[in-house]
Subunit: 488 residues, 2 copies
């Protein structure tokens, strides 16, 4: 086993205090990295032997500690905390489907997704956690330093204290790089938000078992590996102030290749297809003219859904189901519990069409309505769907751009990795994340789509309710295209 915490401590001597936020060195991994990627992989494989969960499906009535409310049929925990599974009635006048009902997770608590960063030898490193979650199809993934619901950190679990949590409960004492509540899946969560925080610390940080310091360049490299950097890590990384002249200077993109266009796309000094005031006006327009009416209703008797002991399923067998699981965890978080989860039937497709505009990469963003959003619509990837859900519908009903993305020639595919969604609530939910380049002269005049460079998305990510969770994952993936993979 590689003792990387000892390595980290050694490097810490070179830590340089509070200099301005410098991204480029951390993106360009190299000789000053605390660990080589090969060491990371050995360490991670070793942890995979020690930390694990065994997850078995069980009948819904077998959930212990959970109860079906006799009046509403809603699923909730005996202690009234964590989350409930309820029914939602949705009405979207003028939408492709004007009315539907569905189960939805109601989790009003705001959790913390926090990453500690620290300079070693002048290079920013991110403290990541190797964490198993019951919904992960492959067990261990890389999560933020802290990934805690309020029930976690107020100890409703009666579990062990959350490591490193104190930094985030007293964040104002450290260098806050970002601190913003962001939404999660609006089709499965009702108005859920988590707090995305990145703190820079200068003091000595003890590296506990299961944690390690990685550079942005290393994280970017691991992103492309697929199913390794978890959803919570991706959303926090997407909220970083990933911009600035430092990046342009360090990379000095002179040519007109794809990578140069990504780097320019990160810089606020570069142009954009639309001014920010026009983008904000477009979002205002969509949110003013779109109506999404939602109402929480009893899960019992929900139109179009049926409940058996095995699961709550849609009558046509599509979309997703609510199941029960028993989890036995070994390693750091020992224990056994049961819980309901949402199980996706198929792997989805999440894709940005991108193009260069005067040498600056722009992504085609979709203003998308989802019933769980607090504020009507958020900016989403060009394509975000499970293709099989449209198999029974006429071609005209297929999501715009889906077929273009699925049939793109290989040399146009700039990013392609299958990544997991949240493993605490979703069972084996995965999406294929794609970035597909299209021609510069590709025009588009659709009221729900706009071309945006990365720096405009990053600007919006300083605020809540603008960029959805899938687009945030893709922003992190796009940032990974700024630099070549690090030597490992």
């Amino acid at each position: 086993m590689v003792d990387i915490s000892a390595l980290a401590k050694k490097s810490s001597a070179g830590s340089g205090g509070s200099r301005p936020w410098q991204l480029a060195e951390s993106v360009l991994s190299g000789t000053r990295d605390v660990h080589r990627l090969a060491d990371f992989h050995r360490w991670f494989a070793d942890l995979g032997q020690r930390f694990y969960t065994e997850v078995d499906r069980i009948p819904l009535p077998g959930l212990s500690g959970w109860r079906l409310d006799p009046g509403t049929g809603n699923l909730g925990h005996d202690n009234g905390r964590f989350f409930t599974v309820e029914g939602l009635e949705v009405r979207v006048p003028g939408g492709p489907v004007e009315r539907w009902s569905q189960p939805i997770i109601n989790q009003p608590e705001i959790g913390i997704l926090g990453i500690l960063v620290k300079r070693f030898g002048g290079v920013l490193h991110f403290l990541m956690q190797a964490k198993v979650e019951p919904g992960n199809h492959n067990g261990l993934q890389l999560s933020p330093t802290v990934q805690a619901t309020r029930s976690n950190y107020t100890r409703a679990h009666h579990g062990k204290p959350v490591p490193y949590l104190d930094y985030f409960l007293r964040s104002a004492r450290h260098g806050v790089l970002t601190d913003v509540r962001q939404s999660e899946q609006g089709s499965w969560f009702y108005r859920k938000r988590n707090r995305n925080v990145v703190l820079e610390v200068t003091e000595e940080v003890e590296v506990l078992d299961g944690f390690c310091w990685l550079t942005l360049g290393q994280l970017h490299s691991l992103l492309t590996a697929g199913d390794l950097v978890n959803m919570d890590s991706r959303t926090v990384l997407s909220c970083l102030p990933f911009s600035g002249a430092g990046l342009l200077e360090a990379f000095a993109p002179a040519g007109d290749d794809f990578r140069a266009s990504v780097i320019r796309s990160c810089s606020e000094d570069e142009g954009s297809r639309h001014s920010t005031v026009d983008i904000l006006s477009w979002i205002t327009e969509v949110r003013t003219h779109s109506e999404v009416h939602t109402r929480l209703v009893p899960l019992a008797g929900l139109a179009g859904w049926r409940r058996t002991d095995d699961a709550i399923t849609h009558e046509n067998g599509r979309f997703f189901e609510v199941i029960g699981v028993r989890v036995r965890a070994g390693g750091r978080e020992v224990g056994e519990w049961t819980q309901p989860m949402i199980r996706a039937y198929r792997t989805g497709v999440v894709a940005f069409l991108v193009k260069r505009v005067d040498g600056v990469l722009h992504a085609l963003v979709h203003a998308r309505l989802e019933p769980g959003y607090l504020d009507v619509a958020e900016l989403a990837p060009t394509v975000q769907c499970v293709p099989e859900n449209y198999d029974h519908l006429p071609t005209a009903a297929r999501p715009r751009f889906l077929d273009e993305v699925l049939t793109a020639p290989e040399d146009r595919i700039r990013f392609d990795a299958t990544l997991s969604e949240e493993g605490g609530r979703f069972y084996h939910a995965r999406n294929r994340y794609l970035v597909v380049e299209t021609d510069e002269d590709r025009e588009l005049d659709h009221p729900d789509f706009r071309w945006l460079p990365l720096h405009q998305l990053v600007h919006l990510l300083r605020h809540s309710h603008y960029v959805n969770i899938q687009a945030r994952s893709l922003v992190a993936c796009l940032h990974s295209l700024t630099a070549p993979p690090p030597a490992s």
Copy 2:
């Protein structure tokens, strides 16, 4: 009668096309103004004779076209549009009052508050409307070019078309200076938002009876007159991109007087007590840790409130009451109708404490919870209350800073005018708006308050849900302190 529309047409010949947004000329009114203020006042007095409403209180059962829902007791229009008066149950764990119930206006439609601007002789002018509203205690006030609910502009009133509305329904064809949905009174409205829009046009604009072009300097001068620039105008003006080096150059504030500190406060190049990321982190913290639970409930049987034919009142006689009125309108919008309104008993106090920090004016902003906000808390004035509502409570329960504001020496009062709130829903609701300067060394360490310069507030005003309606009025008032009153 002064024919100011003819004057405007004459001046229009000097209009200069699409140059960059230049604020300073419009703030410094002078010889290039379309009208002198003295002419405006004659024109406005003349309109006051021709446009009027007669408003009489009537018993609630006498409201025609409105009905009490037999099940809920909610007040709604027969056609199901406009707005309803419902009950709201509020729970704020840890707040000064932890639970209460109240009537609230539910108006989910998003209306348009829009001002057209145009250059005459190089100077930006704002097209304002002299408009009577039933709740105005003095009849006529200055409103935006367009002030229309969705029911207005989709013609649910079966009234005349809304003048100039087409500009705002196709705003992307013009120069959008601002376009953002902003909240209104969170204690009287349930999640109401209006769209605040300012469009710059270059084409010839016909000036209809009751409309006139005014510079920002003139509007600022009229703000200080009290009860003339209405609430909707103030919120739209507050959302202007009121900043930039142009302002600093034009005014060249060299000295260290109060006005110089206001002008510097508008410039993003000047410093601020806290960085924007720290301010955003503070807002995230307040919104994460504060809980405001609300639930719409039937108005009938609302705890603590009683209904007579005359009104719905609180059992202790405080706060506000729901009344019925009959309106007879003459002038431009002829007609007769009845409607419910909210009547405030007393004039409130809305005040910013301000201080200079290194020569830059900062306002003391309060992160305030109101039950009608979509997102927990918004930034509010230092003081916002009706003092008499606290008379029966112990001194410790009085709003923080209220007494300091009410007893400030005259030379510390930098702005003082009584202004009206929305006259379409509120009956004679007025607040005394104050800006009170305090010492530079005045420190404050309270988790719900922060010192912000104007440019940080203006930056946040590009987005929804940050700055409340009362603070927006004060932002407009503070901007009026950048320049001396225009010669009239």
